[in-house]
Symmetry: C2
Amino acid sequence: MQKRIVIIGGGFAGINLALQLGKKKHYQVTLVDKNNYNFFPPLIYQVATAFLEPSSISYPIRKLFRNKSNLHFRLGELLKVVPESHQLILSNGTIEYDELVFATGAETNYFGMENVKRNAIPMKTLSDAIQMRNRLLTHFEEATLATDPAEIAKSLTIVIAGGGPTGVEISGMFAEMSRSIMRKDYPELKDADGQIYLVDGGAALLKPMSTKSQVNTYESLTKLGVKILLNSHVNDFVNDKVILSDGTEIVTKNLIWAAGVSAINFDGIPATSYGRGKRMIVDGLHKLAGFEDIYAIGDASIQSADPGYPEGHPQVAQVAIQQGRNLAANFIRMAERRVPRSFVYKDRGSMAIIGSNKAVVDLPKPKIHLNGFLAWLAWLFIHLMSLITYRNRFRTFYNWTVAYFSKDQSLRMIIRPVDPHEDPVVPAIEKSAAVESEKVETKNA
Amino acid sequence: MQKRIVIIGGGFAGINLALQLGKKKHYQVTLVDKNNYNFFPPLIYQVATAFLEPSSISYPIRKLFRNKSNLHFRLGELLKVVPESHQLILSNGTIEYDELVFATGAETNYFGMENVKRNAIPMKTLSDAIQMRNRLLTHFEEATLATDPAEIAKSLTIVIAGGGPTGVEISGMFAEMSRSIMRKDYPELKDADGQIYLVDGGAALLKPMSTKSQVNTYESLTKLGVKILLNSHVNDFVNDKVILSDGTEIVTKNLIWAAGVSAINFDGIPATSYGRGKRMIVDGLHKLAGFEDIYAIGDASIQSADPGYPEGHPQVAQVAIQQGRNLAANFIRMAERRVPRSFVYKDRGSMAIIGSNKAVVDLPKPKIHLNGFLAWLAWLFIHLMSLITYRNRFRTFYNWTVAYFSKDQSLRMIIRPVDPHEDPVVPAIEKSAAVESEKVETKNA
């Protein structure tokens, strides 16, 4: 009778863990996710700006698991863990585990600002991206109906909170769109003035990157017309006004929130197991503090065992991928009576794209800094290669090629699949499931 | 000062009318639609079955209107017409017209069956299609969780009401999917028994087509395993039971409604102007009975002036397209002081696709009937060519090629862009707009 590993979450960490375990058949593996697909967060912003289709950056998990007889998928949401009985209470039933792995990622963190949570557009999930696409396009249409210039500016102005890669990339994209596509699609608005603001609490954009990259980014975005506000953060968003920490008020209908994430706490896991940013405290073998058969990897976890990262690893894709693979290798080693290896993160560098033909790239060793066209090519190539299947790569490559030469895409449809009778996976606990899924939209995604 | 033509509805009829009027600049044209895109209804079912992306069969209207300086787009929904003052009350404001054209199409008709309306899945709009994709995939996931074979069958069984092209094409598609894709994606369900039923009130499928085509279709679908129930219609759909007119009960969660449409009545147009199926009664010049400056074309209209069609034209794409073009030509003739021409429908034949490699085609004159592979190629070619832009054609061709060779697609993602604060286009009349858009989901689409 094979041991059963249950993985919660089908993001970078969870999928990589599962696919590796699918190669050797030592375990029965069940991956649980509240979505039936895996997606590629680094390109969410291109879906949100109607440059890529959702299907370019997402893939059905069941199809990934095809012909891997020991991998199973389960659509559902974790409500509670019962470590004593090795049970998981899901939104649609109960399952048992021998080894449990949290790969639950992080969710958008509004730092307790209710108005922001209610009115801002998050940038974490595929649903967020489509929601943003629909809302911005609707606001542009509203602008075409307004006569008062102030009303128009309010609909067109966009404030992006958070100067990390997402914030930088999305503001660069909007800046370029407002020059090209917007002018062509909305001739009524050619004289309207909408602004693009990028707000960050720190002293520089792209904090973890080299000063060179930070400066390049700042200059390029400024040239594109993005108004960058540093050392300042969003305090509130009410009545179409974004209020900053220094008292500045920006009148807009559009606040995009890319300013922070936090991991998720689960019922059944004691508070003592959580560390900074609600992340689960694990050892070098990804084992959760206080448990023998529970692990956590990716954004959901934090560890101080890696000599290079005593403060814990950054919450980025590369860490999640490498941790998923390391844990898989360890499970296999244990099954083969070999010694598991402690995790050591190999930094592959970081990058951000600023616009067509512009990007910044920092490579760790040898320390190399690229910017401009070469960096842009590197960005495209690496992201293309990181997509999960050839299909996704082809779609995305095609979309990018079209977008590059036509400086345009044709995905600006406001499509809302309204389902009056959305039935949760199992009616029995309909209520809780529905409520939950509201609350933790981004949990397993 | 140019005359202003306002077109309500951006479907086949409305878009063709607008684009023709864009070629000569005799009029200022404003097209009003509650969606910001035009889409291709004949392929809706392929989006619903996750074979095509929404973007393969839809296109932003603003982009279609680019560089056509006399064409304007207005997102909004018609609430009321005030003929006396040549005014239109939209969900988001008021506009005036010199000439008004209804190209408002038809909406799903449930023949007053509230339960069916509440629980069935319609097949008219792009939102319907995505909703269907999401709901069926969710039901398949439910099936994987159930243990009782009856429960499983209930989730997998699909009843399609309506034996027209949509009903035929979608049941053929499901039959093939259940053999290939379902088996691969849901190994848990390989022994489950779900059935596909196609129900029609008439004595034959594809009523308007030749007996040859009807027989071919019946045989092909039966071979594929579709259970065809003729001379019988759906009376009710409650507690996961479809109840047919002959008393038969089919236990299922999935009723797809492709059994009828009706045009829409608008506040401000007298009852005397409506004929069979709520269609607006027009003369050979598409002019609405009782008005000098209001016209109706496409599914929304009915006329007896065409000698070949004393009972009115069928509600099909070709009629809508030809009427849109004829009315455009007439507007141009009038502007040039020439005599408008009465509409004469040129029947280009009808067709339906039954599965990979199978279709039926009837050509009118010379009377030719095709079936099998040749008909299938004809179907593909004609539909591909009918797509509105090269971009759509390429996307679709690519998707079809992949689907044909891989016998598969990778679009089976359940993506729900939940927007907690969907703001209607103008907050002022939020309520009515919201209510309306619920009520007339399919109106201008």
